[in-house]
C-alpha cells in the first residue's frame, strides 16, 4: 500500500488537497474562467519544467533555463527583427535554446564537468551575451504572433495552454513510449550499469540537455508573449520553480519515477498554491517560504518511500 501511495506523484495528493481547501475557502478560485487564467500563467513554466524533467530523470540538472528565457526574450523583443516574418524570429529563438542546451550537454558529457557548475557558467555567459546584445536596454518590438501565443485565446482556452499540452504529449511520448525515454531512465538510475548494458549514456545525456534548452526557449517564447515586452531579468525565478515542479512530479535525480504527467501536475500544483497564497494576501517572501517548504516536503516524502522499498 505504501508503495502504491509513493509511486504516484506527490503532486497528485497536493493538488487534490489544494482543490478541496480552495473549494471550502475560495470557491471562485475553482471557477472555469479563473482556472483558464491560471492555465495561461502556468503554461510557460510548465514547458520549462517539462524540459527540466529530461535532465533530472537523467541525473543531471539545468540551471541555465532562467538565462535562456531571458535571452530568448531579448531576441524576440529586439528591433533588429522588424520586418522579418515571425516564424523566422521564433526559429532563431528556438535555435538559441538548442545551442545553449548543446553547449551544456557537450560540456557535461565530453568534459565530464559537473552539470550544476556548467549550467551556472553557461547561464552567466548567456546573461552577459544578452546584455551585450540588447545594450542593456531591451526592445519592445515583439511580433504579434508571439504575443498571441502567450496571451491569445481560442474560445475560452488560452493558446499557451494548448501549446503546453502539445509539449506535454511530446515529452510523454519521448519519455514513456520511445527508446530514448528508457535510455534516460536507465542512464539516470545507474550510468555504469547502463554503459555495461550497451546504452549510449553520453548521447542520451547530451540529448536530455538539448531538449531542456529547447523546452526552456519555448517556455521563454510563451512568457515573452505573455509579458509583451523585452525585460532584462525575465525568468530568473523559473530556475527554482521548474525544479520544484519536477520534484513535485516525482522525479528525483534518476529514481526512475516521474515524467511528463507528473511534472505537469507538479506545475499545476505550484501555480495553484502560489496563486492561492496571493488570494490570501501572502506576498513574495511568504511564497518563497511556501515554495521551499513544498520542495523539501516532497523530496523527503519521496525519499522515505524509496527507502521502504
Amino acid at each position: 500500500m505504501k508503495r502504491v501511495l509513493t509511486a504516484l506523484p506527490p503532486a497528485l495528493w497536493g493538488l487534490a488537497a489544494v482543490c478541496v481547501f480552495a473549494a471550502f475557502t475560495q470557491p471562485q478560485f475553482l471557477s472555469l474562467p479563473f482556472l483558464m487564467i491560471l492555465l495561461r500563467q502556468a503554461a510557460p513554466l510548465g514547458i520549462v519544467a517539462l524540459g527540466q524533467t529530461f535532465v533530472v530523470a537523467n541525473r543531471s540538472l539545468d540551471l541555465s533555463v532562467g538565462a535562456t528565457i531571458a535571452f530568448v526574450n531579448l531576441i524576440v523583443a529586439h528591433a533588429m527583427w522588424n520586418g522579418y516574418p515571425p516564424a523566422v524570429v521564433i526559429a532563431i529563438a528556438l535555435s538559441a535554446g538548442l545551442v545553449i542546451g548543446l553547449v551544456n550537454g557537450v560540456l557535461v558529457t565530453v568534459l565530464r564537468a559537473s552539470a550544476v557548475v556548467v549550467t551556472l557558467g553557461t547561464a552567466a555567459i548567456v546573461t552577459g551575451i544578452g546584455f551585450l546584445y540588447s545594450g542593456g536596454a531591451p526592445g519592445n518590438a515583439m511580433p504579434e504572433l508571439i504575443k498571441w501565443l502567450g496571451r491569445g485565446r481560442i474560445g475560452m482556452v488560452p493558446v499557451s495552454g494548448l501549446v503546453w499540452a502539445a509539449f506535454g504529449v511530446v515529452a510523454f511520448v519521448l519519455l514513456r513510449r520511445l527508446t530514448l525515454g528508457r535510455y534516460i531512465f536507465a542512464a539516470g538510475d545507474n550510468p555504469s550499469a547502463a554503459t555495461y548494458s550497451g546504452i549510449p549514456v553520453n548521447t542520451t545525456l547530451l540529448i536530455s540537455h538539448v531538449l531542456s534548452g529547447l523546452f526552456a526557449a519555448s517556455g521563454g517564447l510563451l512568457l515573452s508573449g505573455l509579458v509583451g515586452v523585452g525585460s532584462l531579468n525575465l525568468g530568473a525565478d523559473y530556475i527554482l520553480s521548474s525544479i520544484a515542479a519536477v520534484i513535485l512530479g516525482g522525479a528525483v535525480f534518476g529514481g526512475g519515477a516521474g515524467g511528463a504527467i507528473g511534472t505537469m501536475l507538479g506545475t499545476a500544483l505550484l501555480v495553484m498554491v502560489l496563486n492561492l497564497l496571493t488570494v490570501f494576501g501572502v506576498d513574495q517572501p511568504g511564497k518563497l517560504i511556501v515554495q521551499g517548504l513544498v520542495i523539501a516536503v516532497a523530496a523527503v516524502i519521496y525519499q522515505q518511500g524509496r527507502r521502504g522499498g
Binding site: L178, T179, R182, Y196, I199
Partner: protein
C-alpha cells in the same frame, strides 16, 4: 607450526569472546541463524564455509558494521551492543576487512590512524603518527613511505596496509577476513608470523579463508558454517581436510553442477593476439559454441582487463577479435553488444542493476539498447514473463523492484537481460558472488543451458572449485598473460594454483 602445549592449558579457561544464538536477516534472506562461536585467548580460530554460508555476516556483526536481529555477543563475560564500527574497535575488536576499507586518497599514515586518533583523549602529533606507522609497517616487513597515497600502491601492498591498520589497534580480538586473497606467498609467510606473534601475546584471532592449506597451517580450532548456521567446532589436530569439506558442503560438490558439454560446435569467439591499453600483453582465446571457458588466477592478474577488452570497454590497440566470422575489434562496446556479446559485471549493485527500476525494466535494457533512439518501444511483458519463468526468478511479477530481490535472483535478472537480448557469447565475471547455495546451483544450470543452445560463455571466478565444476576448459591468467590451459575435467585446484603463482614462487613451492 609450534601450535601446541602452552595453549592447550589455556583452553580450559573461559572464552574471551562468545557468540550465542546470533541471527541476522536482510529482507527475506536469512544470512545468519542461531550462530554460536567462542574464541579463547591465544588461539587462532578458523571460520569456514562456502561463499554465502554467512561468514562475512558473522564477522560484520562482531565488528559493529551490522547489528544483530537476535542473540548476544559477550566479551569477557560482558554483553556487547555495537551500534557503530567504532564501538567494536573501542571494545577491542579489530577487523581486517575482505573488501578494502582503505581510502585511496589518504596517505598510509592517515589510513592507519583513521578513527583511532582520539582513543586516549588527545591528538597524536604528526611525528608520533609517522613513528608508529613505521613501526606497524616494519612489523609486516613493509618499507613504504607513511606519506604515500594508498591509491598509488599495488593491490598486494594495499592489502598489507589494510592488515597493518587492523594490527595497529590495541585490540584483544583480531578478525582476518580472507586476508591472503591478494598476497604473494612470501607475504603470506610474513602475515602468518605476525598472527602467531599475536596469538602468543594472548589475543584471540578469527581467521576466515577458503584455503584449506592455510587453515591447517595456522589455526588451532575450526568452526564450520553452512547456509548461515553453525555446523560444528573441531580442533584442527583432530580433524582432516575431507571432514572439513564435508561439513562445509554437506553434499558432494559435483551435485551443484550440470554435466559438461559432450560435443562442441564451431569456434564462436576468437581473440588473436588482442592487445589493449590496460592489457599490454597479447591475449589469444577461443570459445566454441556450447562451451563454457573459465579464467582462473590470483586476485587482480588482469581478469577484469581481459573481459573489458573483449567486451569493448577498453579499446583494442592491436590484434583481432572475431565473433562468428565477423571482425569486431574495431567496434564500440555498444556495437559489439548488438553483434551478440553480453557482459555480466562483477559488481552487481554498482555496475549491473538499476536498483530503482523494476525487474521488467532491468531485463529489457540490453534489448532496448540495440534499438534506434527514436524507435517505438514494443510491449515486452510476455517475453519478460517467459524468461522470468525460465530462470525461476522468485518474484510476484515483473513490476517488482529489483532491490527487493535476493542476490541470487538479482543475478538471474542480469542473466535474463542477455537472454532477452539474444547474446551469443556471454562474458560473466564472478557469476555467483553474494549468492546463496541454492541460487548458485540455479545459476550454474542457466549458464550451462545458455551454452547448450549453441552459445558460448567466458567466466572469471575467484573460486577454483566453481571454475572446475562449471567450465569445460580453463585458462590461467598470471600478470596479464594466459599462461596455462587445461580441460576442466582434468584440472585440480593444486595445479591451477601452481600455474597461477608467480614463476619464482611456484618453483620454490
Amino acid at each position: 607450526m609450534q601450535r601446541g602445549c602452552v595453549k592447550d592449558v589455556m583452553a580450559a579457561t573461559a572464552p574471551l569472546i562468545e557468540v550465542e544464538s546470533l541471527s541476522k536477516s536482510f529482507g527475506a534472506v536469512r544470512a545468519l541463524q542461531d550462530m554460536a562461536l567462542a574464541g579463547y585467548a591465544g588461539k587462532v580460530h578458523a571460520v569456514m564455509g562456502e561463499n554465502g554460508a554467512g561468514k562475512s555476516t558473522l564477522m560484520k556483526l562482531l565488528s559493529g558494521v551490522f547489528r544483530p536481529d537476535t542473540g548476544s555477543i559477550r566479551l569477557r563475560g560482558a554483553e556487547m551492543a555495537f551500534h557503530h564500527p567504532r564501538d567494536a574497535q573501542k571494545a577491542g575488536i579489530s577487523t581486517i576487512f575482505q573488501e578494502f576499507s582503505l581510502l585511496p586518497n589518504l596517505s598510509v599514515a592517515e589510513n592507519l590512524f583513521l578513527g583511532r586518533e582520539r582513543q586516549d583523549g588527545r591528538r597524536l602529533g604528526v611525528a608520533e603518527i609517522r613513528r608508529r606507522t613505521r613501526e606497524a609497517l616494519a612489523a609486516l616487513d613493509l618499507r613504504i613511505d607513511p606519506d604515500r597515497r594508498v591509491g598509488s600502491l599495488s593491490v598486494g601492498h594495499q592489502q598489507m596496509v589494510e592488515i597493518a591498520k587492523g594490527v595497529l589497534a590495541d585490540a584483544s580480538v583480531f578478525i582476518f577476513d580472507e586476508p591472503t586473497a591478494a598476497l604473494a606467498s612470501h607475504e603470506v609467510e610474513t602475515l602468518f608470523a605476525l598472527i602467531r606473534r599475536l596469538a602468543g601475546n594472548g589475543k584471540v584471532i578469527f581467521y576466515i579463508s577458503h584455503r584449506l592449506s592455510e587453515i591447517f597451517a595456522i589455526c588451532d580450532d575450526i568452526t564450520i558454517m553452512k547456509d548461515g548456521r553453525f555446523v560444528r567446532t573441531v580442533a584442527t589436530a583432530e580433524t582432516d581436510v575431507d571432514e572439513v569439506i564435508q561439513g562445509m558442503v554437506g553434499r558432494p560438490i559435483e551435485e551443484l553442477f550440470e554435466p559438461r558439454a559432450e560435443t562442441l560446435g564451431p569456434v564462436l569467439l576468437k581473440a588473436e593476439s588482442l592487445v589493449g591499453e590496460a592489457a599490454p600483453k597479447p591475449l589469444s582465446i577461443e570459445i566454441r559454441a556450447g562451451e563454457i571457458v573459465g579464467i582462473a588466477g590470483l586476485e587482480g592478474q588482469g581478469q577484469q582487463e581481459l573481459m573489458r577488452l573483449i567486451a569493448g570497454f577498453a579499446p583494442a590497440r592491436a590484434g583481432a577479435l572475431t565473433l562468428a566470422d565477423r571482425r569486431i575489434e574495431g567496434l564500440s562496446a555498444r556495437r559489439r553488444m548488438a553483434a551478440g556479446i553480453g557482459f555480466v559485471p562483477e559488481n552487481r549493485k554498482d555496475d549491473g542493476l538499476f536498483l530503482s527500476l523494476d525487474i521488467g525494466a532491468n531485463m529489457a535494457t540490453a534489448e532496448i539498447a540495440r534499438r534506434r533512439l527514436l524507435g517505438w518501444v514494443p510491449g515486452m511483458g510476455a517475453r519478460i514473463a517467459e524468461i522470468m519463468r525460465q530462470l525461476a526468478v522468485k518474484a510476484p511479477n515483473a513490476r517488482t523492484p529489483v532491490v527487493d530481490l535476493s542476490g541470487g535472483n538479482q543475478q538471474k535478472v542480469v542473466l535474463g537481460r542477455w537472454l532477452m537480448a539474444g547474446a551469443r557469447v556471454l562474458l560473466c565475471e564472478e557469476p555467483t558472488r553474494g549468492v546463496d547455495v541454492g541460487a548458485k546451483r540455479e545459476i550454474y544450470r542457466q549458464l550451462r543451458n545458455f551454452a547448450g543452445q549453441g552459445r558460448g560463455v567466458l567466466v572469471t571466478s575467484r573460486e577454483l572449485p566453481e571454475l572446475i565444476g562449471l567450465c569445460d576448459r580453463l585458462l590461467v591468467i598470471r600478470n596479464g598473460e594466459l599462461v596455462a590451459e587445461t580441460m576442466a575435467r582434468e584440472a585440480t585446484e593444486d595445479d591451477l594454483l601452481r600455474s597461477a603463482l608467480p614463476a619464482a614462487e611456484s618453483e620454490a613451492a
